[in-house]
């Protein structure tokens, strides 16, 4: 397959970026999207040009490092996947493919397609944990958790922190990310004692870092590679209200 790639190139955080066009020929349809970029980079190195910088590590959809806004969609034209799981068979021969970094104020570009998502870590540091020190925990089966609660909690805990939800949102809201973490703990008995403080602090941090408001367009849910449901946002809103009253 042959492709025309329009890729965002930006030297560093301060530099002005621009789209650069590359042509790529004879790509196998079984190639993953990032392997296609590897092929491009191999060619660039041969021409003594700097390769396109993008984040990637596990290449199996779990570390959450890969990002990329492809033809107007975070993680590209397929559902419930990350960019590293996208394959070229999802495109047509001769396609023009536009590749951009996540665009959101709290995620500044570092270089080319790589952005800084440490704002997510900062939110977790505010309260995304249960305050238990190593040692002295009761026997694991002393805490009985109904299967349904455990499953729902796991649904929310499956978030990989990739930031597609923020990238998809016109307001750059981090509600889905934060509510997933809040829900993960709120659904478990272990998470209850700190529930109010947790939601209060995490939401405050999210606002402080410049993430926007949620206006219920639900674009985040559509693009979430792990199918985290917006019902977690409703749960968080309840938790938040309750935290404010209580």
């Amino acid at each position: 397959m042959d492709f025309t790639l329009k890729i965002w190139r930006q030297k560093n955080a301060k530099a002005k970026g621009k789209f650069v066009t590359y042509n790529l020929k004879d790509v196998s349809s079984n190639c993953s999207f990032l392997e296609m970029l590897d092929i491009l980079n191999e060619q660039l190195v041969h021409q003594n040009e700097e390769p396109v910088v993008f984040d990637t590590d596990c290449r199996e959809g779990i570390c959450g490092l890969c990002s990329l806004y492809i033809n107007g969609r975070p993680h590209g034209p397929d559902d419930a996947i990350t960019t590293c799981q996208l394959h070229m068979r999802k495109f047509k021969d001769g396609d023009i493919i536009v590749v951009e970094p996540w665009r959101a104020r709290p995620f500044p570009v570092i270089k080319d397609l790589m952005v800084d998502r440490t704002a997510f870590d900062a939110i977790i540091q505010e309260g995304g944990f249960i305050s238990v020190n190593t040692g002295g925990a009761p026997d694991a089966n002393a805490i009985i958790i109904p299967k349904e609660a455990a499953e729902l909690s796991m649904d929310a805990a499956a978030c990989i922190g990739c930031g597609a939800c923020v990238a998809a949102c016109k307001n750059a809201s981090a509600m889905l990310f934060v509510s997933a973490k809040v829900s993960h703990f709120a659904l478990l008995p272990q998470g209850k004692p700190e529930a109010k403080e947790r939601v209060r602090k995490m939401v405050a941090k999210m606002d402080e870092l410049g993430f926007g408001n949620c206006t219920n367009t639900f674009a985040c849910e559509v693009e979430c590679p792990k199918l985290i449901s917006v019902s977690t946002i409703a749960r968080m809103n309840r938790e938040f209200l309750w935290a404010k009253i209580g």
Binding site: N48, V53, T118, I124
Partner: protein
Amino acid sequence: MTELNAKIPEGPLAEKWANYKAHQNLVNPTNKRKLDVIVVGTGLAGASAAASLGELGFTVKNFCYQDSPRRAHSIAAQGGINAAKNYQNDGDSIYRLFYDTIKGGDYRSREGNVYRLAEVSNEIIDHCVAQGVPFAREYSGLLDNRSFGGALVSRTFYARGQTGQQLLLGAYSALSRQIKLGTVKLYNRHEMIELVVIDGKARGIIARDLITGKLERYFGHAVVIATGGYGNVFYLSTNAMGSNASAIWQIFKKGAMFANPCFTQIHPTCIPVHGDYQSKLTLMSESLRNDGRIWVPKNKEDAEKLRKKQIRAKEIKEEDRDYYLERRYPAYGNLVPRDVASRAAKERCDAGYGVGESGFAVYLDFEESIGRLGKYVIEERYGNLFQMYEKIVNENPYENPMMIYPAVHYTMGGIWVDYELMTTIPGLYCLGEANFSDHGANRLGASALMQGLADGYFVLPYTIQNFLSNEIRVPRMSTDRPEFEEAEKSAGDRLSKLMRIKGNKSVDHFHKELGKIMWEYVGMGRNEPGLTKAINLIRILRDDFWKDLRIPGNLDEMNIELEKANRVADFLELAELLALDALERKESCGGHLREEYQTPEGECLRNDKDYMYVAAWEYTGGNNPYKMHKEELKYEEIEVKQRIYK
């Protein structure tokens, strides 16, 4: 070099750890704050260690090369984590977990360490549940278990197919809490490239800020390395793209011994290789072997037709299928350990019965269990894995059997450590997959997560105090000292040298070539002529690398080609040591199959008389830089036997 002393505590096996803890030295709370500990790595081992040391009150500096600690490769572990809880009442015990691990490792690991691992396994599960890890549950609300290879009991705890993710997020949450409290300072997107040794003790590191490209100096009263395994020496593996051996290779060159480098694990159930552009191999969790049956056709003609896509797997009649694991190993069947399952797959494919376009694949078939349990149950158990498979292969595994083939997955070998997890450099510790300690010549499934968390939560926080208690009078050292100066200079010189080559070939070219040599001659089947040839080829490739490598861009800015080049330069050296170790070990054991040493049935032929030792390699420099030391293994509690899974 001093004698290798594993410092196994006195007393009966079951009391050693309790004895150790009762008599070790501790650091008092006010002194802890004055002691700095560097922890390199934020995987299960590193994050759990950094968080626990922070909780104790030490001043911790924690490093990772990714943007966030949560993205360490532990996140990718799928299947589960073992513990000897015996919640299923199926006869499990600490002793049995210990025994299975020693046997699974083909009697090449230390009794003392392994027993302790089994002992603390239960505390890990308690702690993780307290942290909010959403393990799978039964309808009663109690914890559920599944079975993994090499065990006759069901002792594996899991969170769907994302156990590693959930355990790592647990450790990451504990770490995040400490970062907020200020006990841990995080250095993300930083790569360690040198160790600083002062007066014989590990006192710091040189790290490169991957965004600015600058080299930076960090002091610690002690240094902990938890940087994961070196499987990427094979290029294609189930490891992450960035997984590397640089930290362990640099400490090796500074005096930490490297143990059993040839003990590498090839995992039987991975998605087969499909093209030369491929960048990594994807694991299909071992847990699938609970419900999937492995087979190839009985007739070569059928295999041929399947390869040419003239017929489909479904059309092969039951009596024409060879469920070769069930046939050869009726007691364990599809749940034999990984080394056994991988070799059996290779044997069938080499003999011409393989399927898939390349002929290097076997089937993992769920038809029977879908019939027995229903599609819903299979979906609930393995849904995400099936989805992952479908995305890559473009075939529906509910309808057609999966195609799988062995791939490089894990490294049992690693930095030599004693009972305290200290390396041969005082004050330098090594945890998790990066050390060699617990898995001998083969690791059982679901035991790496257990080991990483055991090391970080429950072992190091004790043992490091035995060392640090003698350091309380040592003030924080200035990083202007000549030792830091020199380490930074040597790191800088190496990077500049890489930049100056200005040849014609990319880093990936060399990494791929290295991978081909390693897979061909140092992979699943090894023999003397092949290994000798590999060593030669590696040397030639290494020479070429240093003559003809091309790295665009600059040294003092973000440079992804330079990052890779620095890692590959280390792999090119480690590869030779790995092959050398494989050559020296003239026996077959666990994942190390020397074709010259097999039983007539094609099973591993160990040589306990001559090889029941840990090969600990010392770096001596010069033309023959590697010198082997032996730590003899003594089994007091266990009777050493041939490993039989029939």
